[in-house]
Symmetry: C2
Subunit: 702 residues, 2 copies
C-alpha cells in the first residue's frame, strides 16, 4: 500500500461508526456528535441494529446494509464484538478501520489483536488502534474522536501514544489558543503507527508544526526515515516520558512494550532534527512558536529589556539554547544610546531601565529594526509603575509587524500581573509570540533557531570505510563454529587489523620461549595476557600483567598467569599468552556500537577506560553517518577539551578518531552478526600521529 493512500484515514469521503449510540455519554454517541458538530461534509453511516436515527443521520442495522462505499470505519463496540465488526467492515471494502475499543494487547490479549490485524490486512484494510480515542483532521473537517470538546482548528498536528493525555491536550491547546490541524491517537500500534501518521501530516498543507507524544518506538528504522522526511519540511517537537530508570519501567508497563534506551532515543531524534521537550508546557510553547513564526535564518540577536534581572536570565537561557548574541559595541552604542539613560546599558543585553515607557520601547525596537547588523530580537518587559500599560499591546503589535516585514525574528517576554496576562492572551490570539516567562520566550526562539540550523545543513551523506569484510566474517565463522558468542582477544585484534584500526604490536606465544622472543623483539615494557575461550574477564582471573620490563619478568609472569588462570578455572583450555607492546598512558577514549532493538545499528564515542560507565560522557548516533557527523560526535562530549590540548599538552589526532568511528560503523553495517563492539581504551596521540586501540570486546550471534 503506497504512502499517499493514508490520506483517506484522515480525510475520508464516508465514515461508518459501528457501535453508534443514541445514549449521551456513550463513546458511540460522542463520535457521531463530533462528526456532526465538526462540520464533516462526507457521508456518515451510524451502525446500530436497534436505532433509526442518531444526530440526524440514518442508522443502519449492519455495515453490509450501507449502500455506498465506506472509506473509514470507526469501531466502538465492546472488545468481544470487535473482531466480528472488523470482519464485516473488511467485507464491505473499507480501507481504514480505527478501533477505539480497548482490552487487547495492552492487557495482554495479543492473540485477538493479531487476528484482527491479519483479517484486515488480508482484506486490504489497515487498522489504527485498538485502544485509541480517535482521529481529527482540520482539512477533512473530520472529527472521529470521542473528545468532549470541540477541537479548535489550526496548524499544529498532534500524534499521541497516550489517549488520556491526548484528550487533555485538546482542551489545553484550545485554552492556550493553539489550533490543531491534526490529532491522532496511536494507541496499541497493532498495524499503523506514528510513522504512518507522519506520512499524512508531512503532506498536510495546513500543518505547520508537529507535536508527538511518544512512550516507546517499535520500528525505529521506519520511524527515523519518516521523522527525517518530516523535519525536512516542518519542525517536529517530541515529548517522551521515561527518561529516568523508574519512569522507563512505568512506561513499559503502560504501553506493554519495552520503552528502549532513552539515551539512544534522545540521540536519534536529535540526529533526525527533532527537538525534545521535557514538559507539556515546553512542548506547547515551542510548537506554537514554530507553527506561527518563520524560523530565524540569521544569527545576530540582541536582548532589549527594562529590567537587568530578566536580561541576565535571558542571557543564561541563550547559552542553554545556543542563541548567539551580537556584540559589536560600536554598532550597539550608536543604535541604542538615544533611548538608554546613562544608568542603563547599551551592551547586549540592552537595558533601557525601569524608567522606560512605551515610547522608549518603540524607539529601541525601531533601532533594532533599522540596524541591519541586528538580525533578531528578544524584547523583555517587566511591569513597572512608570510604564503606560495601556500601550503595551499596541507597542508589541506594531514592533512585531515592523520586524516581521524585515524578516527579523522577534519574541516577547512580558512579566507582570493581570493586565499583562490579558495583553499576552490578546497578542497570542493574533499569533504574536508573547510569553509570560523569559525562559518560555527564549527557549521557543532557540528551538526554532536550532531547527533552522539543522535544515541549513545537508544530512543525507553516509561515509563508509574500506574494510576487509571477508576477513572479519571468517573470524566470526570460526568463533561461531567454536560455539562462542564472543571473540577472543587475538580475534578482536584481527578484526581491528581487518578494519584498519591501529593496535599495539601484539602476537600470541604458545610457549614461554616464543613469549620471550616476542618481548625482546617488541622492546620493553610489554603486556602479557592469557588467551583462552574459557576466560572472558582476563583481569579478574589474574590473566593480565602490565608493564613487564625484563626477560626475567617474562619468565616469572608466564608462570604466574598460567597458575592464576588454572586456579580461576581448572578446566580452562589456554591457547597461549598474548604479548603486546605497551602503549604509553594518556587519556583513554572509547568507540563502540551495538544493535538497538528499535533503531538498529548505533555507533558510540566517548571518554573511555573506567570512566565509561561512571561519567557517562558518551554520545550515540544511528547509522549511517557522515564524517561530519562523526566529527560532531567528537566535539560534543565534555572530554573533547582533552583533545584540543589542556594544561599545555599538544592537540590530539582527532582525524584518527573520526576514521575509527567510521570504521567501527562500517564493521556494524557490513557484519550483521556482530551485535556489540567496544574498542576501549583507545589512546590518541598528537595530531598526525594517530591512535592505538589497546583492547576490544566483540560479541557475535548467528
Amino acid at each position: 500500500m503506497s504512502r499517499g493512500e493514508i490520506k483517506r484515514l484522515f480525510e475520508p469521503e464516508s465514515v461508518a461508526v459501528i457501535g453508534a449510540s443514541t445514549t449521551p455519554g456513550k463513546i458511540g454517541y460522542s463520535v457521531v456528535r463530533n462528526l456532526r458538530n465538526g462540520g464533516y461534509e462526507g457521508k456518515v453511516y451510524p451502525i446500530n441494529p436497534k436505532a433509526d436515527e442518531i444526530w440526524g443521520y440514518k442508522v443502519y442495522a449492519g455495515i453490509g446494509k450501507v449502500e455506498g462505499p465506506v472509506d473509514l470505519t470507526v469501531i466502538t463496540v465492546p472488545a468481544a464484538l470487535t473482531y466480528d465488526s472488523v470482519k464485516e467492515a473488511v467485507a464491505k471494502g473499507t480501507k481504514y478501520i480505527t478501533i477505539i475499543t480497548s482490552g487487547f494487547g495492552e492487557v495482554g490479549d495479543y492473540e485477538t489483536e493479531n487476528k484482527i490485524v491479519a483479517c484486515a490486512n488480508e482484506g486490504g484494510a489497515r487498522i489504527l488502534g485498538p485502544n485509541i480515542f480517535g482521529v481529527f483532521s482540520a482539512a477533512g473537517k473530520c472529527n472521529t474522536t470521542f473528545s468532549a470538546n470541540n477541537i479548535l482548528p489550526g496548524n499544529v498536528a498532534i500524534l499521541t501514544q497516550s489517549g488520556a493525555l491526548g484528550i487533555a491536550m485538546i482542551g489545553k491547546t484550545a485554552a492556550a489558543n493553539i489550533g490543531l490541524s491534526v490529532m491522532a491517537s496511536i494507541g496499541n500500534k497493532s498495524d499503523l503507527d506514528e510513522a504512518d501518521c507522519l506520512e499524512y501530516v508531512i503532506r498536510d498543507d495546513s500543518t505547520k508544526a508537529i507535536l508527538m507524544y511518544v512512550e516507546g518506538i517499535k520500528d525505529g528504522i521506519r520511524f527515523m526515515d519518516a521523522l527525517r522526511r518530516a523535519t525536512a519540511v516542518k519542525p517536529v517537537i517530541i515529548l517522551k516520558a521515561g527518561r529516568s530508570q523508574r519512569g522507563a519501567m512505568a512506561a513499559a508497563s503502560h504501553t506493554g512494550s519495552l520503552a528502549g534506551s532513552d539515551e539512544i532515543f534522545d540521540a536519534v531524534i536529535k540526529q533526525c532534527g527533532a527537538a525534545r521537550a521535557e514538559t507539556l508546557e515546553e512542548a506547547f510553547n515551542w510548537c506554537n512558536f514554530a507553527a506561527n513564526t518563520p524560523p530565524p535564518k540569521k544569527h545576530n540577536f540582541v536582548i532589549i529589556t527594562n529590567g537587568g534581572g530578566i536580561g541576565v536570565m535571558a542571557t543564561d537561557a541563550c547559552e542553554t539554547y545556543n542563541i548567539p548574541l551580537y556584540d559589536d559595541q560600536n554598532v550597539l552604542k550608536e543604535a541604542f544610546t538615544p533611548m538608554t539613560p546613562a544608568f542603563g546599558s547599551v551592551k547586549n543585553p540592552i537595558d533601557i531601565t525601569g524608567g522606560a515607557t512605551s515610547t522608549d520601547y518603540n524607539l529601541a525596537l525601531a533601532a533594532s529594526a533599522a540596524t541591519k547588523e541586528v538580525e533578531g530580537v528578544m524584547a523583555l518587559y517587566c511591569e513597572t509603575a512608570t510604564f503606560d500599560t495601556e500601550n503595551l499591546t499596541p507597542m508589541v503589535k506594531e514592533t512585531y509587524k515592523k520586524h516581521k516585514e524585515l524578516g527579523k525574528a522577534i519574541v516577547y517576554a512580558l512579566v507582570g500581573g493581570e493586565l499583562v496576562s490579558d495583553s499576552i492572551r490578546a497578542l497570542q490570539k493574533d499569533g504574536i509570540p508573547a510569553y509570560s516567562d523569559v525562559m518560555h520566550a527564549v527557549s521557543s526562539l532557540g528551538v526554532s533557531y536550532n531547527y533552522q540550523n539543522y535544515i541549513a545543513k545537508k544530512h543525507d551523506a553516509a561515509d563508509w570505510a574500506k574494510i576487509d569484510t571477508a576477513g572479519i566474517n571468517s573470524i566470526i565463522d570460526r568463533a561461531l563454529a567454536d560455539g562462542r558468542s564472543f571473540l577472543l582477544a587475538n580475534e578482536g585484534s584481527d578484526v581491528m587489523k581487518a578494519a584498519g584500526v591501529a593496535i599495539p604490536g601484539s602476537e600470541v606465544a604458545p610457549s614461554l620461549e616464543k613469549a620471550i622472543e616476542l618481548a625482546e623483539k617488541m622492546g620493553y615494557p610489554v603486556v602479557m595476557k592469557v588467551v583462552s575461550r574459557d576466560i572472558l574477564h582476563k583481569s579478574d582471573a589474574g590473566g593480565v600483567i602490565l608493564g613487564v620490563k625484563h626477560k626475567d619478568d617474562v619468565i616469572a609472569g608466564y608462570d604466574t598467569i598460567i597458575k592464576n588462570c588454572k586456579k580461576h578455572n581448572p578446566k580452562a583450555v589456554i591457547d597461549g599468552i598474548e604479548v603486546t607492546e605497551m602503549v604509553s598512558a594518556g587519556t583513554e577514549f572509547i568507540v563502540g556500537g551495538r544493535r538497538d532493538p528499535a533503531f538498529g545499528p548505533v555507533v558510540m564515542f566517548g571518554l573511555g577506560g573506567v570512566y565509561v560507565e561512571v561519567m557517562k560522557d558518551v554520545v550515540f548516533r544511528a547509522l549511517p553517518i557522515s564524517r561530519d557527523e562523526a566529527r560532531s560526535m567528537v566535539d560534543s562530549i565534555k572530554a573533547a577539551k582533552l583533545l584540543s590540548g589542556v594544561r599545555g599538552q599538544a592537540k590530539r589526532d582527532v582525524n584518527s578518531i573520526v576514521d575509527t568511528i567510521i570504521k567501527v560503523s562500517t564493521i556494524l553495517n557490513e557484519c550483521p552478526r556482530i551485535t556489540d563492539i567496544e574498542v576501549n581504551p583507545i589512546v590518541v596521540y598528537e595530531e598526525g600521529k594517530g591512535l592505538k586501540a589497546v583492547d576490544s570486546r566483540i560479541m557475535i550471534a548467528k
Copy 2:
C-alpha cells in the same frame, strides 16, 4: 545596632516622605498614595515646601518641622538633593532611611553613596538603598513602595535585588493569587542588605516562605549566617540569574559588582538549606506550595493517575526531586484494586485509567488516605470525555481535606482546558496545591520534601583536624621572606606532612650521590623532580622524570634535568632534585580550597588529574563543615562510583578522603595566609589502606 531593631524599617509608627508630591505619576505621589491605600495606621508626614495637603495628610515644608518622632524616612528627591535630605532626616532622629532615588553606586558615583551612608551611620541611622522601589510589610500595613498595584497581603516574603523585577513580581504574584507578607527592594546595598532584611522576615510571624532574587552577594559570611537561621524556621527559595559565563558578566555590569562564582553560590545556598529556582515560574510555584502546605515529614509517596503518560512524567520528575515512591506490591494491590480496571495498574504509579470518574478518584484517594503505609500522594488528572468535570473541584477539595487531616501531603496536577484552568484557579484561592503541569506539582512537593529532610538533620557541627599549624606558618614565613607567593614542591610536601596527609616517600637530594642513595633506599621506580624557586611549572621545563627504574637511569636523569632546567631558565637557582617513591597509578582525585571573595574559605573535592577542569566533576562547601558533610561531598560527585568499586575493583578508602577534606579545611581555617590549595592528584587505595597525595600547589599572600 542589635538585630531586632530592624522591625521599625518594616513596621514604623511614623513615616516621613521627603519629596512627597501632588502630581500623579511622580514617585513622591505614589508612595503617599500607597501608604494611604494600604491602610497604614501610623503617622504620615509628606515633606514638600510647596504643598499643603497630599492624600489627606498635612504636608510639612521640611522634616525638621515635624512635631513627633519619625521612625522611617523615605527619600524620593533627585540624586543631587539626596545627601542634604539624609542629613536633615538624621538630624530629626529618624532610625531608618529608604532611598528610592537612583544615580549613585550603580552609575559609578560611589563617593556620594559612601558619604550618605557615613552621615547616616554617624547619626545612628541605617540606609536601605539607594536605587530601590521601596518596602512593604503586611504586618505593618505599611506600603512605602511606588508600585502601581495594590499589594495582595499574604504569607510569602520577597527580597529582591532588582527593582524592575520586584514591581513585576507584585503584579505576577497577585495574578497567581500569591499573597505577600513582605516585599523589600534591596538595591545598591550601600548599608543594609539582604541579610539584614532576612532578620526581619525570620521573625515576622505572617511570613511562611521566603523568595529572594539575588544578583550578587557582597558579604557572603553574614549572608550564610542569616540564611542558615532563616531556613531553620522557614523555607527559602532563591532565584539567581547569571549561571552562564555571559550571564554572570551581564549581571556584573548590571549590579556594578562582580557576581562571583556561580558554582560557589550554588553550593553555599544548598549547604544552607535553600532551594534554587531557575525561572520565575518555578520560584512562584515552590514558594506558594511551601507557604501554604506543611512540609511532608514522611517518605512513602504514591502517584495516582488516569493517564499512563502523565504518570510516567511524574515518575521521571520524582527522580529529579528525590521523592521516594512506595513499592510494597501487596499493600498497593489491596488498597487500589477495587477502583482500578484490569487494564489499569495497581503498581506505583497507580493508573485508574482514562475511564475514571470523580467517584473513582474519590475511591482511590480514600484508599490512599486510609492506607497507613501511604504517606503522601501526587494525584494527577487528564481531562477526559468520561470524567464528570463539574465534580472536579469538589473532589479535589474533599480529598485534600481528608489527607491534610491525617497529616499526609497531597498535591494535584490537573491537565486540561478552560474548565480545568477555572478549577485550578478556584482551588488555589483556597490554598490547595493544584497545578496545570505535572512538573510544577511534583517539583513543588519535591522542594518542600527536600527542605524537610534538610531540617531533620543537624547542620551546626564543625569538625577540624589536629594539624601542626606552627610548622605550616614557619614554612609560609620563609617563603614570604623569600619574596614568593607560592610554595615550592618540597614545601608543599612539608605542609602535607604537617597536616597529616600521607604523601609518597620523598626527599631532596642536593647531589647526585644523595639522589642515588635515596632511590636505592626507597626502591624503584622513583620520580625525579627539580627543586627551584625559579621554576614553577616543572614539567614544562623538562624538570620531571617519571618511572626511573635503575641506578644508571638516576645518573642519566639527574644530568638531563639539570640541563633542561638550565636551558629553560639559565638564571634558575636549583636547590636539588627531589626523589620520590612512585605511586602506582589509579583513579585520581583532588581536594582543594580557596578563599572566595564573598563566602570566605571554601573546600573542594572532585575527580582529579587532568579531568578537574574538563569534566568539572567537583563539589564545594563553605567552611566550617562536619565529617558528615565531607562524606556527603564524596558521595555527591559522579565519579563517586569509582570509589565503591567498579568493574570488580575493591572498595576504596573513603574515610581517608573525608580525613583529607577535613585536614585541608583546617589548613585554610588556621592559616589565613594560604589563599589557594590544590592537592592533586590524590591516589586512593583499598579500604583501610589510605591514600597518597602525589602533588600539591599552594599559593600564599601576606
